[in-house]
């Protein structure tokens, strides 16, 4: 039997259910839909950005079961049964996350397009390493590209977030 890979699955859908920033989501998706398109499109969470589309730049980073992942290389159905945190899930209308506060006060952004990914990558780092050294910071953020800051402001933000975190404990 000849299968047309171009059109296979175009009209089929799959049911997925997952937690998005604590909220239960259940919907049908195309088996070939990318997670990033579902999040930015149907779910209208546009804090998750899209830039290279090949997993190099980290602009589309999200946390899946608290692990940092690029949503351009995940298919939407792969979110089934997971708990997803996007940048929108880090803050409420009244209160911003201490890492976001650090980026704000230390100038860890300019155009802001890489910022959601940077903030989530920083969260992923600090969740597992409360006192990251230079090497750990470089390692943790090496999957996220920024074209504006030269990383100076981002590094100061991560350091500030680290010391704020120490103060809390």
């Amino acid at each position: 039997m000849e299968v047309n890979h171009q059109t296979a699955g175009r009209n089929e859908t799959m049911s997925v259910s997952f937690l998005l920033n604590g909220e239960h989501i259940q919907l049908n998706v195309s088996p070939v839909a990318r997670a990033v398109d579902l999040i930015r499109g149907e779910l209208d969470q546009t804090g998750t950005k899209i830039s290279c589309g090949i997993g190099r730049c980290g602009a589309c980073s999200i946390l899946v079961n608290e692990k940092l992942m690029v949503s351009c290389l995940l298919l939407a159905y792969q979110l089934d049964g997971t708990s997803v945190t996007t940048i929108e899930g880090l803050s409420s209308q009244d209160e911003i996350h201490p890492i976001q506060k650090a980026f704000l006060e230390e100038g860890g952004f300019q155009c802001g397009y890489c910022t959601p990914g940077m903030v989530l990558a920083t969260k992923y780092l600090l969740d597992s390493n409360a006192e990251p050294d230079q090497h750990a910071i470089q390692e943790a953020l090496s999957g996220n590209l920024c074209r504006c800051t030269g990383y100076g402001g981002i590094i100061r933000s991560v350091r500030c977030a680290t010391s704020n975190q120490e103060g809390v404990r």
Binding site: Q6, R10, R40, D44, T46, G47, T48, K49, I50, S51, C52, G53, I54, R56, C57, A59, T86, I87, E88, L90, S91, I96, Q100, K101, F103, L104, E105, E106, G107, G108, F109, Q110, C111, G112, Y113, C114, T115, P116, V119, Q134, I137, Q138, L141, S142, N144, L145, C146, R147, C148, T149, G150, Y151, G152, G153, I154, I155
Partner: protein, 751 residues
């Protein structure tokens, strides 16, 4: 210096800010653009029938569907919106589709049948200048020539004791803004069109689109801000014409957001240049003669190519006094993409070559590079590089002095190294013109209003691309008026709401905001105080503006809201031109900024890899408006230039892009840059200077490459004349000269 949090900061760190590519509208369609598979070809036929029949396709357009001028370009509209008979690069658009989904639009592109007859590909300026080369444009393959001459070049060369000649090659650089081009174009109910697409000059886009669509400018509204980066790259039109034509054809909102590959293929890039310099010094180490030829590959269309070449010619001598100068530049059409405006605007290319010459000459006559520069540096009262009077500052010698001190310190602190590594330190300086230059239309302006709700609104026709113009506007407005940031609202980036301020380019934003406030402040405050005096029954002299409203005797007595209640809003506008030299020399600049860069590199002799361990920039650009914004521009510019020096090259083969995405076109990641970038702002200006803070959008990118090149020479004795410096070039050079197994003083052989 103030460390202000940017007004757009909270929205950015929380991900709540809606970029124009994040927008969605009811009944929105998705657009895709069909671009040429050939770098140069004749179009024999275009058939869109099959594509139109695909379910979900709402419109397919070709050149036949362009009602107005089928062309665009800031300087001259030589780039077809949709090609009719010839394609001149692989980004040339031939058709566009609007469909119910991106998938259907993509499928429809595959169903458009275009027959081409391939033509010879001019993939280098040399080929384009051959007598047998086909002409890419009616006037031939030369876009522009620019030259400058002063003194008797031959006579001065004859007085030189040492002459150095070198040819420098600099690459095609991608802006690599993280947000690729895109947005939504919406047909409005009452007629007219709203274009939600980022650009650096909304009114210019409106003008260009009006010409293409055959629609009056009044019927087009451009919402052009915010953007996820631009760096010059979104100054020219990109997807706007296609989105607009499709929106008109379908009567529905059309979204186009280019993928990175589509962006790489169609976007403008920094001009690759081949620069040959012959420079001579006399016995006293004084520069006497400097002869330069510049050949720029401008690609298929003009955009701002002519102005970029003019800028490179102007900056050929940098901040040095040279009695005889002869410069000839030519910008050549090829089938290689399109080169255009990019942060630094030709200055980066020419400064790499010029500073390379200075270092080579210093080594040749046995003095150090700083001494060489001191002997030739311009002073406060010297004329500008084209012989024009410029705004006088001591910037050049200030940054040289600062960089010299940093250089000495970095040299002293050299640490021990692995035997297979070499550390080197280098420096370079530059001066860089702001604004568009003499003889170019360069209007600016702004508007200050006390609105009915008591809010002070400050508005400009500028765009926020990430550079921090919002923070600059907030800082300057509150400082000049004396009010609090809570008292003001800032309006930019929407042609239906803002006055014309000129382009958000050429490091002009900060300057023009400050100049505008100088003009707006007095009449605005006078009106406010006169009205307050009337209401309060007091004399104007007793009152002042402060946070919240009108102050008297150290207390706020009347709020801005009370001031405007039941009375007319107060509106003050200003229009003026960017300051230019009193000397009518075409394209000459008047306001310059200066930088002195020190770089330290570590070269791994086993891998050829170069690591920039330190980067220190001393900047002279007048007072700092917003510390974080200024620092960010210089640090970010510096790292972008590290990429230019060591990593970045948009490789083309036979007119096709080889590097198609960020996996093969590498920009610096966090591991590729110094962990502690350093910057010193020299804020002083002469007392009589009345031009205030200068913009720093570009200066941080300009002199980094030659400083790194100089450091590489210091480390391993390799004289860099081609960027980016690849590990292969390092290994070839060090192996040939036996650097790894030779003496520690690796550059001794090169002297």
């Amino acid at each position: 210096m103030k460390k202000n949090i940017r007004p757009d900061g909270k929205e950015k760190v929380t991900g709540r800010l809606k970029y124009l590519t994040d927008l969605a509208f009811p009944n929105m369609l998705y657009g895709k653009i069909l671009r040429s598979p050939y770098p140069h070809a004749r179009i024999l036929s275009i058939s869109t029938d099959k594509a139109k029949q695909l379910p979900g396709v709402q419109a397919v357009i070709t050149h036949k569907d362009v009602p107005g001028l089928n062309g665009f370009g800031i300087v001259r509209p030589d780039q077809p919106v949709l090609c009719k008979d010839i394609v001149r690069y692989v980004g040339d658009a031939v058709a566009a589709v609007a469909a119910d989904s991106i998938e259907i639009a993509s499928r429809a592109l595959e169903l458009i049948d275009v027959q081409y007859e391939p033509l010879p590909v001019l993939d280098s300026p040399e080929k384009a200048l051959e007598a047998s080369a086909p002409l890419l444009h009616p006037d031939g393959n030369v876009l522009h020539r620019a030259s400058f001459q002063k003194g008797d070049i031959e006579a001065e060369f004859s007085k030189c004791t040492t002459v150095v000649e070198e040819t420098y090659h600099v690459p095609r650089q991608l802006h690599a803004y993280m947000e690729t081009e895109g947005g939504v174009i919406v047909p409005e109910k009452g007629g007219g069109l709203t274009v939600y697409v980022g650009t650096q000059h909304g009114f210019k886009d409106r003008f260009q689109l009006s010409r293409i669509l055959g629609v009056s400018e009044a019927d087009i509204r451009i919402v052009s801000s915010p953007m996820g980066g631009s760096f010059g790259g979104k100054d020219e039109l990109n997807i706007q014409p296609y989105g607009a034509l499709l929106a008109i054809a379908t009567g529905k909102p059309v979204k186009i957001h280019q993928t990175r590959q589509e962006s790489m293929r169609s976007s403008i890039k920094r001009h690759p240049m081949m620069i040959t310099m012959k420079t001579g010094v006399d016995r006293a180490g004084k520069l006497r003669a400097h002869q330069t030829t510049i050949v720029a590959d401008t690609g298929a269309y003009a955009t701002l190519g002519p102005a970029i070449l003019d800028f490179a010619v102007e900056h050929t001598c940098g901040p040095y006094l040279i009695p005889a100068v002869k410069t000839n530049g030519v910008s050549i059409f090829t089938n290689n993409g399109v080169s255009g405006e990019f942060r630094g605007f030709g200055g980066n290319q020419i400064t790499f070559a010029l500073e390379g010459q200075i270092d080579r000459l210093a080594a040749a006559i046995g003095i150090d590079g700083i001494d060489m520069r001191r002997r030739n540096i311009r002073n406060e009262h010297d004329l500008g590089p084209l012989g024009q009077r410029i705004a006088e500052t001591n910037g050049a010698s200030d940054v040289l002095q600062s960089a010299a001190a940093v250089y000495a310190e970095k040299k002293r602190l050299l640490s021990n190294q692995d035997p297979w590594k070499r550390i080197g330190t280098g420096m370079a300086i530059t001066m860089h013109g702001g604004g568009l230059g003499f003889g170019r239309l360069d209007p600016a302006g702004g508007r200050l209003s006390l609105k009915e709700d008591g809010e002070i609104e400050i508005s400009f026709g500028f765009e926020e691309a990430g550079q921090g113009i919002l923070g600059v506007i907030e800082a300057i407005t509150t400082e000049q008026l004396g009010c609090a940031k809570e008292d003001i609202s800032i309006v930019i980036g929407d042609t239906s709401l803002v006055p014309s301020s000129g382009s958000t380019t050429a490091s002009r934003g900060t300057s023009m905001v400050w100049h505008s406030l100088q003009r707006l402040k007095k009449p605005f405050l006078q009106k406010l105080l006169a009205r307050a005096a009337g209401i309060m029954g007091m004399k104007e002299e007793q009152l002042s503006i402060g946070p919240g409203g009108i102050w008297q005797n150290g207390e706020c007595r009347l709020s801005f809201r009370e001031l405007v209640s039941e009375q007319e809003p107060i509106i003050i506008s200003t229009q003026f031109d960017f300051p230019v030299s009193p000397d009518p020399i075409d394209s000459a600049h008047f306001l310059y900024t200066y930088s002195g860069v020190v770089a330290q590199v570590e070269v791994d002799l086993l891998t050829g890899r170069i690591n920039v361990g330190e980067l220190h920039q001393s900047i002279s650009a007048g007072p700092v408006v917003n510390e974080m914004g200024y620092l960010g521009q210089i640090e970010g510019g510096g790292v972008m230039a590290i990429g230019y020096t060591l990593m970045e090259d948009v490789i083309m083969a036979d007119g096709h892009y080889v590097t198609e995405n960020l996996d093969s076109y590498l920009i610096p990641g966090i591991k590729d840059v110094p962990f502690d970038l350093q910057m010193k702002a020299i804020e002083s200006l002469p007392e009589e200077d009345h031009h205030g803070p200068r913009g720093v959008g570009e200066i941080g990118t300009v002199a980094v490459a030659p400083a790194i090149a100089n450091a590489i020479w210091d480390a391993i004795g390799l004289r860099v004349s081609q960027l980016p410096v690849k590990p292969e070039a390092v290994l070839k050079s060090t192996k040939e000269r036996g650097v790894l197994h030779g003496s520690q003083s690796s550059n001794s052989g090169a002297k």
